[in-house]
Symmetry: none
Subunit: 210 residues, 4 copies
DNA sequence: GATGAATGAGCCTTCATTCAT
DNA sequence: TATGAATGAAGGCTCATTCAT
């Protein structure tokens, strides 16, 4: 509950969140003190507490910021393209974003949120949404692929969607740790999974059989 | 420099680590106070600090504990089995372990370590080892599979190994968050990836081509 | 790096130092806890640590305070007076100050600093300055006395200056312990030493100006 | 109250005190932990506490040790020598002792006791005795000197005795701090004071006047 | 007697948060 | 609204002391 009217100064809020994100990415939530954020934002304690009631609220606001970014990445699906191609496109955008400084920083904070989800109900809810959104988007794509016959009818779309999300979560982890795992390599790995989704060789028209 | 001779009472060290792990799994490292661990272990501050110089050292000891567990899981490979079967076996053991309370607790702490790796050089080193060990084990299996002709010669074993590890890291995350993602479902996802590794249909004897 | 701008509220700094000095005089540095100082100053821990980074720094600040007092005492020398008279004046001021509650308290803390000098390089440096300042001031007076012929040319001014300082350090000790050694008695003792400085009886020449 | 019969093992007590003195000389009482003494003595906590009930008691035992040393130094007076010569002898012994490592160490601890006297009634009593003993010894010598006519009858022996003690206390301080103040210089300073004690030139038989 | 692991009160210090200006 | 000095609960850690072996 900010003590200040929200519309008054979204810019100020953003300035604070930007500073907070930088600090959180560097040191994690609990090793970042409000003073660190004060220093980074070049604002005062009172000012920050005018916009965010507690540190916890600041963490949650950071979590919400992430949704925006992720939603944008998923928006590549225009429902007219080939589902597999769409998957490839989403994966590509995601991995390219992960190469940028900004994207990496966001994921770094994301990892902190992942860990925090164990403790905080609110953050847990955010993380849950952060998983469900891509899972259902991908589930939809896979189902469409099955209908079109470009994806094997044998697989369970929901399960594979979760599997794909899991895979990319792992990519994020390794990237955040600075492991030598480039976007191209990750895509190569993803391709293998896609290959596993292909319809059975003998059945040329799988969609019809269903 | 422990105040207490290192050989004395490994049992006490374990008692402390056990208590610490319970607390860390529940609240994360930085939200767990030494007093929490004191309460959980039913020991005193002085006793704990006789065995571990700092809280940081306690965190690192927890990290090393994990290695033992993980090493045991990877030990399923006896070099005589079919590589694919071995991969399935390892995956199975891993996912079964993840169903147990103990295994889940360990992974919960593992997630804290993953987040901590961003901040602490020592923890980062541990996490790195924790990734490299399975990656190289799996890389070896895949290479053997390629030689035997049961795995496509086209894939890069190192990359696929990383991809597999990434996938299971994601499984861990979702499981730790309490997502409805059962072992059987995860295995199903893994099978799809395995299918993607199969040799090309036309080429019946891929190993010869190498 | 004070958390609080250095120029802000020197009064607050003084309030803290005043409280600290009272506590230190009563119990010594290491038997005085920060809580004691908090109670005495009627401030909070955070406030104190906003002005002094550590307890050690507080001790050093107390040490510097002493210099001011001592420098004022030495300032009695206006270079025109008879050196011996000046010495008497300085001694008198010093001993009178030692009779006041304030002066006694300062010397009590001074004794703590003397003991601390063995351990702390910084305090040692302060104490060293605290000795050298009066030693060189007195050395100068003695040299002037020798030039004027009121002091024997046989004595080594530097050595006698140190001896005089030693004597007054001893006076401080005894006074601080509550020994029955009044200012007048101390002055009497000092007079004996001064008498020992007189030029040799036979040599009337240098003293003729007197 | 040692839990162990005192006669059983004075050697053990001494071993502990020796270690304690080394530590105290180095770091002062309150910066020396029992663990430091344990390490230095190569004994165990239980053993030390078998011989000394508290750390405080250890400090007091150290204080008593000093008396022995000081008493030995004062014992130079055999009542037959010339008082002035005796004073010179005592001063000489004292200053020579202060040049030895052992003597310096003892004085270093002595300084800690001087500071401690402000806080502890028991230590204060010890220090008081430590002042009174030489003061009365010297007072006696001075009186004898006055009787013999080698010392001015005008001076108050008690006051001068205190003054002499003060002077040497100051010498100790400067020596303990590592000031460049050699024994010979200190003796030179002392000689000036002695000169101040000489009977008035005109009055050849001052003792009779009293 | 000696050992040394265990105890727990207490220490110094930090930091989220408040509030007068 | 913004500032930043002040608050005080809580945190990590130490250390004098005890006691079962």
């Amino acid at each position: 509950m900010p003590k200040i009217k929200p519309e008054t100064s979204l810019a100020r809020r953003d300035q604070i969140l930007e500073a907070a994100e930088i600090c959180f990415a560097r040191q994690g939530f609990h090793q970042t003190s409000i003073r660190d954020i004060i220093r980074q934002s070049e604002l005062s304690a009172g000012c920050i507490y005018g916009h965010f009631a507690t540190k916890e609220e600041l963490i949650q606001a950071i979590g919400e910021r992430r949704h925006t970014r992720d939603a944008a990445l998923l928006a590549s699906d225009d429902n007219t393209m080939d589902p597999i191609a769409t998957l490839r496109a989403i994966a590509g955008h995601f991995l390219i974003d992960l190469q940028t400084n900004d994207g990496l920083r966001t994921r770094r904070v994301g990892l902190q949120l992942w860990a925090e989800a164990v403790r905080s109900k609110e953050v847990h809810a955010q993380v849950t949404v952060g998983v469900h959104a891509p899972v259902s988007a991908i589930t939809g794509l896979l189902q469409r692929g099955q209908h079109l016959g470009s994806i094997s009818g044998r697989i369970d779309p929901a399960i594979i969607a979760r599997t794909i999300v899991a895979m990319f979560q792992g990519f994020v982890l390794q990237r955040v740790w600075g492991e030598p795992f480039e976007a191209s390599a990750a895509l190569e790995g993803f391709e293998v999974l896609l290959r596993g989704l292909e319809p059975e060789s003998g059945t040329k028209t799988p969609a019809t059989s269903r």
